[in-house]
């Protein structure tokens, strides 16, 4: 079986992924198949447990597990042009040369030093690119509210005529303004910016060139004096974020958006006056900083592109977290008047990423790959970074500096948070302003604070670009407030738990943005659990037992986080399809970066349809094109327009699975069950008017609760559905913005209420899905978008550690994580995410040391021999807590009685408060505050005065 046969084998897959844009470009997203073993054929498919012995709703293993554990082709790096049916075999290889300075102008390349066997067949410089190729208008639709703010600021600036004719300017960029390849004569905008594209028609030449160039770049690049193409370094990327809150009187969420910023200075003064007028207030200044961090996902970015110019087709193979944005950006590069060919279609094969952590969200890699394809004379091109290149140009977690002060009264009541957060955005804007903005929200921690004055910005520097990385600003912000709180507690001799308990925000409270907290958080309960756990309760005794005078000190630290999940408005799409043989296929726009989304979505339908999915296709964002919905509302009716929705789909982040994506798939499954499966059962049983309450699934059979009829297999129901022409699949779109958009849908079973804003039905005749016009729609209005976030995954971490005071080495002894994960869909995935978060946080806090500028990875010589990650020996490996052993325990709150089975996005939740807990534990152990990450042995020794 060849690749193409595999990917188009399921009719629903091929049909459902087609979409036409307004520009007439056909888009196809093909889910890379599991089970492909290259030319050796196809192995057995993955198994969630859809067979007769499986338990609906329960995952026996990851749905992608079998393919991964047997080494089958699932990652973009695994594929070559020869694997792709219909592609030419003569694959070329691309290599970009990278800018070495932001002080001098790039003048050109000198490849005379390359040996003959290493010469490229094509060299492309920046002046050869079309305008659209050189600086494509890249869209970042990461957050509805941020995008609205940006649009408002652009409009405001345009009124002042401060932008250029294209509507583009540095401080108000609707898109990337920096050239993908520096034009000779210009000064590079940042280190690592491409200065030339080298193309090779053989792997031998490519490899020879790489061996010659790597670590020796300057021998092949020419620099001189020239002009800077762009603004000076140090400016802030737009928009910046200002959250000023003054009691119930004024906040970002509640103020008039038109006048909010005009009122801010006045309220900042009021806050300062209040603080200055009360000499009894305790002021706790803080200053923290952290270096950038590489996501270090295991698979360096790689992909294939083949541009069939005469046919106008771009074929691309990628592992990306953001197929939506990537396709859009490719269109902006080639669907233009100055494009080298007339673009008619884009075919994206979406592979499982070998790790993501945000580093593959809106990554510039896609653009660089698509660009290379235009210069290969119609041959396929492979761009595959090695680890040195990945360190050099891959998106990073932002380095940051956070300064400010807390104000608290003598009764432990927090009065004010003042914080300035400066994120090193690096060269490209990417998602940096969005990250800084969420960090500003996280600056308030888990606490109810009457007054806040928070400013966050991401600045343009010469450094490697920052982007969306696990925590999205949370790790930096929680570190600042949680260490400052502990310093207050230490200074006042207050109990750190008591101090936190006195200030936690609860349902009915508000964030520093001013948005209401309407979700049950249960923070007090979590603090109780942590406080009573022996790791914390017995910490004094443990310290005495573990301290070795003159050699080892021991400490325990606690910190909490209130990480939001989702964005200010999220759209999701999914299809649930009952195949003729009674098996189920689920498709989702989500991408599984390893977090287990595919597995979760495959089992979450089990209780509704009596069986887990046999197949789950991820990255199917073009499903939206089949929904009949649009974000354009020409009628101005908003939710009353049955074809309108507030957002189509967005980038995929792990935290969107448990609530957002699960909800969408489950509601779509409900549409199929209530609108069709139940009708089929009614027909077979010769009954009428069955309601969902009258039936149940038992051992894979649909049973009439009242008895008297023969239970039905799903395959029997499928037979009836296909024979009667009932819907065999449902396509659903959901929108969440504090609440779900909901409507009533006419179905073969009558009117069915669903928390979806769009439903279409697939019919057995194989035609496109039929739009079902919604009725009585209710949806959130624009007001709540200014809340920023609505749902939260709180976590309390307790860390115990020992410090070798002779070497400064830290050993994490035990970690306790108390997590409110809501309903847990797949327990093993939740604990795995937690354990992975703990390891990554330990690594971030203690080991990952990446200086900026040419002293760091931007110089092209960095790899894992210099950049140290936590290994197994650095992490407690016993599952649970037992004194004397190095273990980690995860306690998840039991669901409250009567609560709906709704999960919380916890991908980042556990990780966020581990770094401050480590720093707090170090303070307990050493009496010193270490507030600069990473906390290396050198810093510890210096702090200890040794």
């Amino acid at each position: 079986m060849d690749f193409r046969e595999t990917v188009t084998g399921a009719a629903v897959t091929r049909r459902a992924f087609l979409k036409s844009t307004g520009a007439g470009v056909a888009l196809t997203v093909i889910a890379a198949p599991l089970g492909l073993t290259g030319r050796a054929g196809r192995a057995e498919g993955a198994g969630l447990g859809a067979g007769s012995t499986a338990v609906p709703g329960v995952a026996r293993q990851r749905i992608d597990g079998l393919a991964k554990v047997t080494g089958q082709k699932v990652y973009a790096r695994d594929f070559s042009a020869a694997d792709m049916a219909g592609w030419p075999d003569n694959q070329w290889h691309a290599l970009y040369l990278r800018a070495l300075t932001t002080d001098q102008a790039f003048e050109g390349v000198d490849l005379g030093n390359l040996p003959p066997q290493a010469q490229p067949v094509r060299v492309v410089l920046g002046n050869e690119l079309s305008q659209a190729q050189r600086a494509p208008k890249v869209a970042f639709t990461r957050d509805l509210h941020m995008d609205e703010r940006m649009a408002q600021e652009i409009a405001k600036a345009q009124r002042k005529s401060t932008v250029d004719a294209d509507g583009r300017s540095f401080n108000l960029p609707p898109d990337v303004v920096f050239d993908l390849i520096v034009v000779p004569g210009n000064i590079p905008n940042f280190l690592g910016q491409a200065v030339a594209l080298l193309l090779f028609d053989s792997v031998a030449a490519f490899r020879a060139a790489k061996a010659a160039i790597e670590f020796n770049d300057d021998a092949f690049q020419i620099y001189g004096s020239g002009l800077r193409d762009g603004p000076p370094l140090g400016d802030a990327f737009s928009p910046t974020t200002t959250y000023v809150k003054y009691g119930d009187e004024f906040s970002y969420a509640t103020a008039d958006p038109e006048t909010y910023m005009d009122q801010v200075p006045g309220y900042q003064s009021k806050i300062q006056q209040v603080l200055d007028s009360d000499p009894g207030l305790i002021r706790q200044p803080f200053s923290t900083d952290m270096q950038a961090m590489d996501p270090m996902f295991m698979e360096p970015e790689a992909g294939l592109v083949w541009i069939d110019g005469p046919a106008g087709v771009i074929n691309i193979v990628l592992g990306t977290q953001s197929p939506d944005g990537d396709i859009s950006n490719i269109l902006s590069m080639y669907d233009s008047d100055d494009a080298p060919f007339h673009l008619r279609a884009v075919n994206l094969t979406s592979c499982y990423p070998g790790g993501g952590f945000g580093g593959r969200d809106s990554s510039p890699f896609t653009l660089m790959l698509a660009l290379a394809g235009a210069y290969s004379g119609g041959n396929p091109v492979r761009l595959a970074y090695d680890r040195f290149e990945q360190f050099r140009v891959g998106l990073k977690r932002h380095g940051a500096v956070l300064t400010g002060a807390l104000a608290i009264d003598g009764n432990m009541s927090l009065q004010a948070i003042q914080m300035t957060l400066t994120f090193d955005g690096g060269g490209r804007r990417n998602l940096s302003p969005y990250v800084a903005s969420l960090a500003a929200l996280c600056a308030g921690g888990s606490y109810a604070v009457p007054m806040a004055d928070i400013f966050a910005e991401a600045t343009h520097t010469q450094n490697i670009s920052g982007g969306s990385q696990r925590g999205f600003g949370g790790p930096q912000a929680f570190f600042a407030i949680e260490t400052a709180l502990d310093d207050i507690a230490a200074g006042q001799n207050w109990d750190p738990v008591e101090l936190r308990r006195a200030n936690i925000v609860a349902e009915g409270g508000a964030t520093v943005v001013g948005g209401p907290v309407e979700q049950s958080l249960r923070l007090a309960e979590m603090l109780d659990l942590a406080e009573n756990h022996p790791l914390w309760a017995d910490r004094a005794a443990l310290k005495r037992e573990s301290t070795v005078e003159g050699q080892t000190c021991y400490g325990t630290g606690l910190a909490m986080s209130l990480q939001a999940y989702g964005t200010s408005g999220d759209g999701m799409v999914a299809s649930v399809f009952l195949n003729r043989d009674g098996t189920i296929t689920v498709q989702s726009d989500a991408v599984d970066m390893g977090n287990g989304s595919a597995t979760t979505l495959g089992v979450t339908i089990g209780p509704i349809l009596g069986s887990n999915a046999a197949q789950v296709d991820m990255g199917a964002y073009t499903l939206f094109g089949m929904t009949g919905l649009s974000t354009e509302d020409s009628t101005g009716q908003g939710w009353d327009n049955p074809h309108w929705t507030a957002k189509s789909v967005g980038s995929s982040s792990a935290c969107l699975t448990a609530l957002h994506q699960v909800h969408t798939v489950r509601q779509t499954a409900e549409a199929l069950f209530q609108g069709s499966v139940l009708v089929a059962a009614t027909r077979i049983w010769g009954l009428s008017g069955l309601t969902p309450d009258e039936v149940s699934w038992q051992d894979g059979l649909l049973v009439l609760n009242a008895g008297g009829v023969v239970p039905l297999k799903l395959s029997q129901l499928a037979d009836e559905i296909y024979a009667a022409g009932l819907p065999c699949g449902a396509l659903g779109h959901a929108y969440f913005q504090n609440t779900w958009a909901a409507a009533i849908y006419p179905t073969p079973a009558g009117l069915v209420p669903l928390q979806l804003d769009g439903v279409s039905f697939y019919l057995p005749d194989g035609s496109d899905p039929v739009f079902v016009e919604r009725q009585a729609t209710s949806g959130p209005d624009s007001t709540s978008t200014r809340y920023g976030r609505y749902v939260w995954a709180p976590c309390v971490n307790v860390v115990a550690l020992s410090v070798d005071i002779t070497t400064g080495a830290v050993q994490i002894e035990n970690v306790l994580s108390v997590l409110n994960a809501g309903h847990i869909h797949v327990p093993q995935l939740v604990s795995g995410q937690s354990q992975g978060g703990v390891a990554m946080a330990i690594s971030y806090t203690l080991f990952e040391d990446m200086p900026p500028g040419m002293a760091g990875p931007a110089n092209g010589s960095w790899n894992l021999n210099q950049y140290h990650l936590a290994r197994a020996g650095d992490v407690p490996l016993v599952d649970g807590y037992a004194p004397g052993q190095r273990g980690q325990q995860l306690i998840t709150l039991a669901e409250l009685p009567g609560s709906p089975p709704v999960g919380r996005g916890i991908a980042e939740a556990v990780m966020c408060s581990v770094p401050p807990a480590i720093s707090n534990a170090l303070r307990d152990a050493t009496g010193m505050r270490f507030a600069s990450l990473p906390i290396t042995p050198e810093k510890i020794l210096k702090g200890l005065g040794q």
Binding site: G832, G836, A872
Partner: protein, 173 residues
Amino acid sequence: MTISLTVNGIAYQIDDSRADDKLIDFLHEELNLTGTKFCCGIGVCRACTVQVSKPPNPAPAPVVSCSTALGSLDGSAVSTIESVARGGVLDPVQQAFLENFSFQCGYCTPGFVMASRMFLEGLKAQPVPADQLEDAMMTAIGSHICRCTGYLRYFEALRPLAEAANAGQGGQQ
């Protein structure tokens, strides 16, 4: 002159002009065996671990294929992840990793599988005192990097297999 080696039991003769080429590139580009994963390329992360037996040493050894030149493998028998499951039946190590949800993105998994299998074979041939088993596991897979799952689930999965192998139980390979 040629370099003679076998990969998963199939014999290959390679011109020695390619002696400096890395094993992983040969596996990927010549044999389309991409189950062995490229990550750091300098032999640190061990994602690219394969099994190599080279006379006169009868015991297979873990080798980082990203940093091993073909020229050093003359006369060797190389086994990759593609050879581990036989006839659709998973190796016990693969089964344990799968059932324990030991991995997430899975990119490091082939390296963990290969190293773990050799470790278990070594234990069966030469058991260690029970109180040294944890250290032996750490020596075998402790330097492999996993970025997603935090290692714990790999060790949880391997521990019972290691205990059995150390007791002379468990059949594989």
